[in-house]
Point group: C2
DNA sequence: TTGTAGGCGTTATCAA
DNA sequence: TTGATAACGCCTACAA
């Protein structure tokens, strides 16, 4: 031990008397127990202690036992902050989510958190309320030296390049760019909608309507376009489109708007997500005394657990959440380990859930 | 500038040519821009740069302008990790949540996140699946030097003392100990249940039943006890009690169990949360062709947004989520600022939501 | 295998 | 007000 550090750290817990420390993890002076403290008590160097806590390091069994015993005795845990500073890896990942009104996102968050946990990585959560907050938040993310970012919120190209320039891997969840290379996990929104339209069309529906999410939602736009494209191919033109905000009330309001407009009453309503579809069903049944699906078919998208509740039994497209979340986690971590991996997109097909909210027979 | 640091940092961005850096926030060698880089370009000392980024520091306007200009030019942002190391404050707070099946928790998480954001504090999220994971997680929390912890998960006294010994402020959300001093924000569960029972009793209900949450849930136990206590006071004995797990399916199953047991059919079912109450309603209506509330009254607890959906219009107790979350945030941050504050408990009354799932007339 | 010493990027302390 | 210098707690060559 160097003279300097010996002098610097003359805690009253010198050598012996380490028996009954009431304050596990703290020195008698109320400071955090560091590797130096462990080293002093164990009579070894600080670097030895450090090595004992590094998985593949070269340490003798004797040394490791000695150090670990003392470490446990003192309640020592390496300081992740200090480690991050020197190693350049924080073992933290930022998860950016803005759309919490959509019930889908909490479920996503749980899955992501689970996946990262398994890898010993921690989630720094960033929730957005207004898109305008994004830039301030990006600075925060950068300041905390996260190893990577998963964004389920829309970012501009400029914002994407913010991370790119800085070498921070970024994986989008259900958003992407056509002409800008970014890594992304997506559910194939268009395909899903086309499946729904096909099923509805095959069952003889004539008057289609669409309820979209917020117009600035990429997912909503893709879903809407998917449905409209397929409808056009089937010769359906002038399909009424009403805008919602992904929330229950907006689904209700949108259905009301459809019914009260001059156009013909719909017999099939395609909603950009499950929650609005549920709102839609409630409006149809309780405000207009319509039977679902006999009078009107209503379909959603997401496969949220609420959609399966027996008052709704929603016909919808189930996004394979666990699979997509796991894919996002591993795609990100791969890029954390190896920054040279090129951007990659993985697109998963949704699974058609028949439910009972659409007449398909 | 010292000779040493001048030698160490001889980036090719010396002095001039700072005009068009493609790599904002990175040096030409691909390293993070540090305060030294800013200092060199601006021709000032590193500590001057540091001061310019500290709110109440004593810096001349001229200095601040010069530094800030260069900082912006280079895309410099102070490294929060390094700051945490020296300052002992990470500006991160751990939020521990285990009960994600309960729809109440995502909404809580958003509110907490919002509150901390406003204070420039970041949320490190810890989700628990099994109670057994707790200890490993506590070590993680400690390693990251969080400034405080909010736990909506149950912790043992030992686990609480883990933080106490280390001087990390802890605030519980909706859990507490009777004989161990901890800070906590609670909704008055007992009181809420008593209100519900009174309303149901006043409307002439005779056959009460209770569906509980998991037996190891403190909140569920309090709610159940609150209801049972009041019922006993009203002379109702032998109230059937069935255990659920807070989930929709368990609410359905529990109702089924109630109906199929030998005991008399209930005319009032008290559920430990909204989601189970919803499951219960669906079972009553769709499996037993009962009318709610004419044949059976069903009440929940929480005031989740789904309970208000028009298929349910749940009669329930609304926990004042925003208020409670804000209280939790400020209670925690107060203790981060001043560690000497004694533990405190704040208990908020729930708000009775009349709904239409209970006959109260 | 073990110890020494330097550095990660800040903030804090003290002279100047 | 500014600048040099010492922490903060750890990891990592490099030397022993």
């Amino acid at each position: 031990m160097s003279e300097v550090s010996a002098k610097k750290r003359q805690g009253s817990r010198g050598g012996k008397s380490t028996g009954s420390s009431r304050m596990l993890g703290m020195t008698d002076e109320g400071k955090r127990v560091t590797s130096y403290d462990v080293a002093r008590v164990a009579g070894v160097s600080q670097s030895a202690v450090s090595r004992c806590f590094k998985p593949g390091a070269s340490v003798s069994k004797k040394m490791r036992d000695k150090v670990m015993t003392v470490a446990k005795e003192l309640g020592f845990q390496p300081n992740a902050i200090a480690r991050s500073l020197i190693s350049g890896r924080s073992n933290m990942v930022a998860v950016i989510i803005n759309n919490f009104t959509n019930l889908y996102y909490p479920e996503l968050l749980v899955q992501l958190s689970r996946g990262f946990d398994e890898r010993g990585v921690h989630v720094l959560l960033f929730t957005l309320e207004h898109e305008s907050d994004v830039d301030k938040m990006l600075d925060q993310v950068w300041q905390y030296q996260v190893d990577g970012v998963i964004s389920a919120a829309r970012l501009s190209e400029e914002q994407v390049s913010f991370f790119e320039e800085r070498g921070v891997p970024l994986v989008f969840y259900n958003r992407s760019f056509q002409d800008y290379p970014v890594s992304a996990i997506c559910c194939n929104q268009e395909e899903g909608e086309r499946v729904l339209v096909n099923k509805l069309d095959a069952a003889g529906h004539k008057a289609f309507s669409i309820i979209t999410g917020p117009t600035d939602s990429m997912v909503s736009n893709q879903r809407t376009q998917g449905a409209l494209n397929r409808l056009k191919e089937l010769g359906k033109k002038s399909v009424p489109v009403v805008e919602g905000d992904y929330g229950y009330d907006s689904g209700r309001a949108a259905f009301r708007e459809l019914m009260e407009s001059k156009k013909k009453i719909p017999d099939a309503v395609i909603c950009a997500n499950d929650v609005m579809a549920i709102g839609c069903m409630d409006a149809a049944r309780h405000e207009f005394d319509l039977r679902v699906p006999e009078d009107v078919s209503i379909v959603g998208f997401d496969g949220t657990s609420t959609g399966a509740w027996s008052s709704y039994r929603l016909t919808t497209i189930d996004q394979p959440l666990e699979i997509m979340a796991e894919a996002a986690v591993s795609m990100l971590m791969d890029r954390v380990e190896n920054r040279d991996l090129p951007p990659e997109k993985r697109s998963f097909s949704g699974v058609f859930l028949e439910g009972e909210s659409a007449r398909l027979g």
